[in-house]
Structure formats: C-alpha cells, structure tokens
C-alpha cells in the first residue's frame, strides 16, 4: 500500500535532482512501471488498509485504469518530447506527483483525505498544462487553476454539508465514507441533498460536465498531448470517483432517485452540448475535448440510470480511458509531424504515415461507439437501461445527441485520415526519429487493441471487477448486470 | 415628577446654549492639530451675536422663500430637538412614531435650505443644492434603516423610549448589531452636518463646497440662524448616536460626552481629507449596508 502511494513521489524527487539525459525519460517509464506492477499485484493480494486508505472495488478499478494510463503516457512522452521547452524535470516530477495524488484519491476512505488529494492533484497538474510557454498556454493555465480551485472549494462545501448531515445521529460524526454510508437512513436528508448538489457542481467542474465545461476546450487545446491524455483519462476519473463516493453515501440514505435524477440531467446536458459544439470545432484537440465532455456526460448518465446503467458506466469508464489515451497520442503524433492542430489543414494522414492513419481511424471508431470496440456495448446498455425502465424521453434524447456527435466527429476526422495530403508538410528532422515514432504510436496501438479485444471477448475477471464496482454504488436492489442484453 | 421637570429644563437649556460650544470644541481641536491656539471658546457665541445685530441685504431676484428658508430650517430642527432625548432617558416631548417625524423634520429643514439656495437664481448655489440633495438621498434611507433596526430590537416606537432603559437592557444581547448601528449613525451625522469626509466646512473654493455654498448669500440674522441650525443638527444627531453607543452610561455622562463627540469629529476632520466627490456615494452606500446588516442581525437575533 505504501509502495503504491509513495514510489511515484520518490521517483519524482529523483527526477528533480538528476541532470538531463535520456535515462531521465527511462526513469519516468520505470517509475510508472513500478507503480503498475504494484497495482497489478494488489489484485491477487490486496494490501492492508493504511492511513485512512483502503482497497474497495470502485477505487481498485479506477486505480488500475489510471496506472495503465500513466504507464502508456510515460512511454509516449519518451517519444514526444524533443526540445527542452519547459524544464523537462519539472514536467516529469509533476507527472509522477500527480500519479501519487491520484492513487490517494482512488484509495481514500475518508472524504477529507479525498479532498486534500484532489486539490493536490489539481495543483500538480497545473505546471503540466503550461508546457509550451506561449501566451495562450498561460491563459489556459490560469483558467484551469481558477476554475478548478473554485470547483473543488464548492465540493469541500458539499463534503461539509454531508458531514453535518451525520451530526444529528448519536454516533461520533466523521468524514469516513464507510461510517457515513453505514449511518445511512439516519442522516438528515436536507443537508444531504444540499451536499450532493454542491459536490455535483464541484466535482462536475473537475470532470468537465456541462454547463461547467467551459475550461475544457482551452485547456485541452493548449496543453501538450501527454497532459491532455492524462487529464482526459485520469483527472476525469478522479472527479468521477469523488462524485461516486457522494452517490454511495446518498444512496445508503435512500436518496438514490434524487441523486440519479440530477446526474441524468447533467449527463444528458453534457452529451447534448458536446453534440452541438463538435460541429463548430476547428482544432483537433478541441474536438477531442468536446468528445471528452460527451463521454463524461455518458458516465454520469449511466450511473444515474440505476444498477444496469451503473455497470454500463463502469464499462464506459474503462473504455473511455483507453480511447482517450489512444486519440491524444495520435493527436500528439500529428502535432509533431504536421505542426498544426487545425483539422482543415491536416489531410490524408494515411498516405504519409500509414500506421498513424490507421490508428486515427481506429480511435475515431472507438470513440464513436462502433463495434467491436467496447463503447458500443456500454452506450447500447445505457440506451436499453433508459428505455427498459420506461424513461423513453431520456433514451430518445440520448440517441439523438449521440447521433449528432457521430456525424460531427465522422465528418471532421474522416477527411483528416483519408484524403489527398497537402504538399506543405514538414518532414521532421530529429534524432532517432524511428524510435520516437514507435514510442509515440505503440501505446496508442496497444490501447486500441486492448479496447477492441475487450469488446470482442471480455474475460470473466474483468466482468467481475466491473460488476463489483457497479454493485458497490447502489444498495442491492436489482441484481441485474450479468448476461442478457447488457454485455 | 420634579426630576422630570428639571430634565425638561435642562434639555431646553442645552438645546439653546450647547450647539455653539460644540462648534468651538471642533475649532479648538483642529487648531490644536495645527499647532495653533485657535479662536476662543466664546467665539461662536460672539459671532452669532454679531450676525444677529447686523442687517441683511437681499438680492432683487430672491423672494420670500429666500427669507423663509433659514427660519423654517431652524424651526424644524428646534422641533426635532424637542423629540430627541438629550439628557436623561426621555425627550421633552414624545409619542409613538415620533422617530419618523424626527427624520422628516430633518428633511424639511434640508428642503427649506435647498429651496432658499435655489431661489437666489445663481448656478453656484444650485450646484451646492444638487450635491446636498444627492447626499441626502443616500443618507436618509440609512437613518431610517438604523432607526428601524433599533425599533425592532427594542420594540418601541417612541424615540425617547427606544433610546432609553429598554435599549440598555437589550444592548448586550444585540452586541454586533448595535456597533454597526452606531457606525452607520456616525457616518450619517458626518453627512448631515457637512463635515469631512463628506464636505469641508472651511473651504470656500467653488469646486468643493456643498453646504457652505447654500448659505453663501445669507447675511445677518438669517446667517446666524443657519449657523446655529447647523450646530443644532450636530447636537441632535450626536445625542441619538451617544444614546445608541452607550446606553448603559448614567445621564450626566451622556451630556458630558457631547463635547467629547464634537472633539472626535474634530479629530476626524483633522486627520482625513475630504473624499473625492464620486467616492462619497460609496461611503454612504457602505453606511446603508452597515445599517441593513444590523437590521438583518437584529431580525435574526429574535429568531435564533
């Protein structure tokens, strides 16, 4: 347990201390690999609780996703970074510190500790955004810092409200999640409702739910692709886990329908907003930011729909991390080769760089929810969950919004991959280009392959893990989420 | 009964005799800050006597309004002074709801002064009148809200009763609110009496006058009345302020504190500069917010 939390931090300090050289990048990869190994070994042998942190199904699932994401990103970063723009060691140190903070977030059993770790991760991510030292990057960093800090402050207010709700009971009140969930029906519902709404707004800002998504296009567009991949895959999960902890407590108190209603509303709004704004996107990474808004909306919507939807949400979370990583890695590769982000200027990638083109198309298919990628199943499951419980309006709006996103992304990305390439392409002249290209594209390929593989055949272990995470969200009312139409 | 009659006589004596003394105190304090001796203690009285014995010159553009202005002002303020407890815990006269009458009498006096200023037909006085009305428009709601807060806290509608023993009993319980009311009333007093930081009573520069410019064209007895009325306003509002700020003190202390309050005004005048004209609404708005907050606290205090 300690190893998982502290090793990234230790590697971060070493990175800060060492002078530059290729072996510093290797150190980054090694650090992430050690963390991944520790997480992988915790599945068969769960470690004991320590300092308020404990392994629970939800946190364990997310931690695994995050660990894999960081490992892939570290490999990508080795290939991506060439010149020494911002201090490379600051970047690597902050990345590793971010990994530590995210570990604490996933494993924390105490709401206060959760909050402290989320704030720490926001602060660790800020230098990662300000990588290119341009004025627009600076603006994006400032916007990110302020909006995130305020959102997290509101989430703290929500946490306090929930703790106040527990004060009326006879037991000694605490911020411990297990205690609060156990107190359940004795919690004051008014304070719980206020607390949940505040946390929804606060953690929703962190995740990028609409209408709190305004910072996402700027920040994802201006920060370097490794950062964007980490944020889209990792920080959204951290906001999501904060929200889910609140949902756990409120469900235990019987407010599941109240929470679910609000989550459905925010989720639908996010998907709809994404559908509208994708049409007007000009930059590739801003387009990806809006798809991130859409997927975060789907996550929230899934959990809001109830137990079947919760399983779909977990499945969606897993595939979202894989897809976003792959897409942002491809975006990074395109930035390196094309020197531009505007989709109008990029054409015919598949002719010049076949692998990148294939991965671009694959990533597009994955994020649109085409089979055999896993998102197909999760999105279908959500539609079925909505329709199956009689909420046809929700299902209808969902399908319409997804269709808009489909058309928007397809029409934007297809010409990028398959088209006549422009003549004005800059041939990158950098040392060890072949290795770097491999390092940039291999993680993307691995992520997509994993997504497709899991879509075709999902091992029982994975299903069980997803199931346990979903079940921990709701009290055992409807034990669905196995076979049937919810693959 | 005898005590009541003595208090009434004392109040009347104070109303007649004390205001010029307050002005003298302010002058002395300002002079002391300037390292001078300043005018004598009796100087305001001598000035009033001199002005009273002079004759006045009236411009041909003025009408009876010009001559009535200072008279109405003094009469209104004198009547208001009868309703405010100065020494002791009851005013000379009182009835439920007289706090509104006091506020309106102050406004009546201001209106008379402004009309007299406008009657001269000079743009100079008009400018001063416009500024005076603007500041008054923001100071009067503050006064009303502060008095309303006191009324809610004590449950009394008669100024004498409101500022008397009931307030003394309720005062410790409404602690933060009472200080807020006192602060708001202090700012209102500075505004109504045309003191720094709202207006400079010693300036004669065109750009900076507010109150002075309105009485610029008066002479002789009318000027004496205007000057005395301004000092009487200081006594009036100062008494209300002292009763709010220290309700638990015995009555001689409240009388003695009046010159001390004048000294505080003198200190404020000597240490601060006049605010720029467009910042004055901010000051008055702050006073209104202070009074409003006090009213909120007092209302909540009843429910808590």
């Amino acid at each position: 347990m300690m190893a998982m939390v502290l090793t990234p931090l230790g590697f971060a300090l070493v990175c800060l201390a060492l002078p530059s050289g290729w072996w510093r990048k290797a150190l980054l990869i090694v650090g992430c690999a050690v963390h991944a190994v520790a997480v992988a070994s915790s599945w068969p042998h769960p470690p004991a609780p320590w300092a308020g942190m404990a392994i629970d199904p939800l946190g364990h699932l997310f931690l695994t996703l995050i660990s894999g994401l960081f490992l892939a990103t570290s490999v990508f970063f080795a290939g991506y970074h060439s010149q020494k723009l911002i201090s490379q060691r600051v970047f690597m140190a902050c990345m590793l510190a971010l990994e530590s903070a995210l570990t604490v977030v996933c494993l924390s059993g105490n709401l206060g500790l959760l909050w402290v770790a989320i704030e720490a991760s926001s602060l660790a991510a800020a230098p990662l955004v300000y990588f290119r030292l341009t004025p627009k990057a600076l603006e994006a960093t400032w916007k990110y810092l302020l909006v995130n800090s305020v959102g997290i402050a509101l989430a703290l207010l929500g946490i306090f409200c929930v703790a106040i709700a527990a004060m009326g009971t006879g037991r000694p009140a605490s911020l411990n999640i297990a205690d609060l969930a156990a107190a359940g029906p004795m919690l004051d519902p008014r304070w719980l409702r206020a607390g949940f709404l505040l946390s929804l707004v606060g953690f929703g800002t962190k995740m990028g739910l609409a209408p709190l998504h305004g910072w996402k296009p700027d920040v994802y567009g201006e920060s370097p692709p490794p950062t964007a991949a980490l944020m889209a895959g990792g920080l959204t999960l951290e906001g999501f886990i904060g929200l889910l902890r609140m949902h756990q407590i409120c469900s235990a108190a019987g407010l599941a329908s109240f929470c679910g209603g609000w989550m459905i509303a925010f989720g639908l709004l996010s998907v709809a907003v994404a559908g509208v704004f994708i049409w007007s996107s000009v930059d590739f990474r801003r387009l990806l930011a809006f798809t991130s808004v859409e997927h975060v909306g789907l996550l929230t919507l899934g959990v809001g729909l109830g137990s079947v939807g919760a399983y779909a949400g977990m499945l969606h979370a897993m595939h979202n991390t894989l897809n976003k990583a792959a897409l942002f890695f491809v975006a990074g590769f395109l930035w390196r080769t094309q020197r531009t982000d505007r989709m109008g200027a990029i054409r015919g990638v598949i002719h010049r760089h076949p692998w990148a083109g294939v991965l671009l198309l694959g990533g597009m298919a994955a994020t649109l929810g085409l089979p055999p990628f896993g998102m197909f199943y999760s999105e279908m499951a959500m539609v079925f969950a909505a329709a199956g419980s009689g909420r046809y309006a929700i299902a209808g709006v969902l399908v319409a919004a997804l269709a808009m996103v489909f058309i928007g992304v397809l029409t934007a990305v297809w010409p990028m991959a398959v088209g006549t390439p422009r003549e004005t392409e800059i041939e990158p002249v950098a040392e060890r280009w072949h290795w770097r290209r491999l390092a940039m594209l291999a993680p993307a390929a691995a992520a997509l392959a994993l997504g497709a593989g899991l879509g075709i055949h999902q091992p029982v272990a994975v299903t069980r893990a997803l199931n346990e995470a979903a079940m921990s969200l709701n009290p055992p009312t409807m034990a669905v989420a196995s076979a049937g139409g919810t693959r | 009964m005898i005590a009541r009659v003595l208090h009434i006589l004392l109040d009347l004596a104070l109303i007649v005799a004390l205001p010029p003394m307050l002005i003298a105190v302010i002058w002395k304090v300002k002079a002391w800050f300037g390292g001078r001796d300043g005018p004598g203690w009796m100087q305001p009285y001598r000035d009033l006597r001199k002005l009273w014995n002079k004759s006045a010159v009236y411009s041909r553009t003025t009408t009876w309004v010009f001559r009535a202005g200072p008279v109405v002002n003094l009469a209104a303020l004198g009547t208001a002074a009868l309703l405010v407890p100065i020494s002791g815990t009851a005013a000379v006269a009182g009835f439920p709801g007289d706090l509104i009458v006091v506020a309106y009498l102050l406004a009546l006096g201001k209106m008379a002064t402004v009309l007299a200023a406008l009657d001269t037909g000079s743009s100079f006085e008009g400018m001063g009148a416009a500024r005076e009305i603007t500041f008054g428009a923001m100071a009067e709601p503050t006064l009303f809200v502060a008095l309303a807060a006191l009324a809610i806290a004590t449950g009394q509608l008669r100024l004498g009763a409101m500022l008397g023993p009931v307030l003394a009993a309720a005062w410790p319980g409404m602690m933060p609110a009472s200080l807020l009311i006192a602060a708001a009333l202090f700012i209102v007093m500075l505004t109504e009496c045309s003191r720094i930081p709202v207006d400079d009573p010693t300036t004669h520069l065109e750009l900076t006058m507010v109150h002075e410019v309105m009485v610029l064209d008066h002479g002789g007895p009318e000027l004496a009345m205007a000057t005395f009325a301004a000092a009487l306003k200081l006594l009036l509002l100062g008494s209300i302020l002292l009763h709010v700020a220290m309700p638990l003190a015995p009555w001689p202390m409240k009388v003695v504190a009046l010159p001390l309050l004048a000294a505080v005004v003198g200190v404020v005048e000597s240490t601060m500069a006049r605010l720029r004209l467009y910042r004055v609404p901010l000051l008055l708005g702050s006073a209104l917010v202070l009074a409003g907050l006090a009213a909120l606290l007092v209302t909540m205090g009843g429910k808590a």
Partner: protein, 221 residues
C-alpha cells in the same frame, strides 16, 4: 462580553471585511484586509472547542499553523507578487465598485435568508455560521468573476476558501487534524503556484488584466 458575543462579533467583522473587499481599489490594502479576515477567523475553532469542552493540544497547533500560513505567509507571497510586478491599483472592474457593493449586500441578504433556515443538528456555536459561510462564499465568487486583475482573483479565491472554512466550523471538533493541516497546506501551495503564474503572466503580457489575455484565440465554448 461573553464568548458567544465575541464569536458573533467576529463573524460580523468577517462579513464587513467581505463587503469592504468589494470596494477596495488598492491591491495592497485588499491583501491586508484579507489577512485581517483570516486573523479574525483563526481563533474560532479554539473558541468553539472551549465552548463545548476543553481545549486540546492540537487545537493550539492548528491555530499557530493557520495564523502562520494564512495571515503571514500567503499575504507575503501575494504582496511580493505585487511589488515585483509594480501593479498597485485595481482598475474599475466590469461591475463597478458601488454596484459591486450593492450586489454584495443583496447576496448577503439572500445568504441570510437561505442560511437562516438551515439548522445544523447538534450544538453549533453561533446562529450566524451558516449565513456567514454562504455569504462569504457568494461574495468571494463575485470578486472572482467581476475583477480584472489576476491578483484580485486570487484574493477572491481565498475569500471563497474562508467561507468554506466558516461553514466547516459547524463541524467543530469532528475533523481530524490531518485533514485540517492538509487543507492548509493545499491552500498555501495553491497560492504559491498562482503567484508564480501571475509572475509569468506579467512577464509575458506586461500587465495582469485577465480580460485581455488570449484575445486572439478562436471562439471557445
């Protein structure tokens, strides 16, 4: 004056400082007003503990840490950012000082209306806590939204944090010391990083007017 009145008085002072921050034009004065607000708030948990029982040792430790960080260190960081940047006055904000004061007063009234109805179960040290907390958060958000200079936005953020802190006083004695220290540390690091970013902004743009940043990007959402 008993403890209850002192606590009430402190909360009223905090609200007055909130409204004052809305009207202050000079940046250094605003930072000092913020430091004063933190100073007034710092002894409140100790007072709450004293009201409900005995005062533990770690209460004094947290008091010391709070005062050290929020009253001295953070304002020092911000003042240094101003001094090196040579920016001293806030320009007329989007809403205007007097209008901000009026809106702030309105927000306070709403906070009193909403917060007065929120009764915390169990003992709470003052009926003013929930309204003061909500009001401070609202005014902090107003400062952040309507101000132009980046440093004032950081001040607004700290006011929001103060408001959340007041709200947390309703939980008196229930928060473990680790969490409190963690929150304090986070706050300090956040302000530190913000100050660094402000420094970069000034170096890049020669001013810290945030509404002039990034005027040449395409329309984002």
């Amino acid at each position: 004056m008993d403890l209850q009145t002192a606590i009430d008085g402190a909360l009223v002072m905090v609200l007055l400082l909130d409204l004052g921050l809305l009207t202050l034009g000079r940046l250094a004065t605003a930072i000092k007003a913020l430091a004063l607000q933190c100073l007034v708030l710092a002894p409140l948990p100790l007072a709450a503990e004293a009201m409900h029982g005995s005062v533990g040792g770690h209460g004094w430790l947290i008091l010391g840490a709070t005062i050290g960080l929020k009253v001295f260190l953070i304002p020092w960081v911000l003042l240094r950012a101003i001094r090196t940047g040579e920016i001293h006055r806030e320009i007329e904000p989007l809403v205007g000082f007097t209008a901000s004061l009026a809106i702030g007063a309105g927000l306070l009234a709403v906070a009193f209306a909403v917060g007065g109805g929120m009764r915390a179960p169990g003992l709470s040290i003052s009926p003013l806590l929930a309204p003061a907390g909500l009001g401070t958060v609202a005014i902090g958000l107003l400062i952040m939204i309507s101000r132009v200079k980046a440093i004032t936005q950081v001040v607004g953020y700290l006011v929001v944090e103060n408001g959340v802190y007041i709200f947390g006083l309703l939980l008196v004695g229930r928060m473990p010391a680790l969490v409190e220290m963690g929150i304090l540390l986070d706050l300090f690091v956040a302000v530190f990083i913000m100050a660094i970013v402000v420094h970069h902004i000034r170096r890049t743009f020669d001013h810290i007017d945030t509404h002039l940043l990034g005027g040449n990007g395409e329309a984002s959402s």
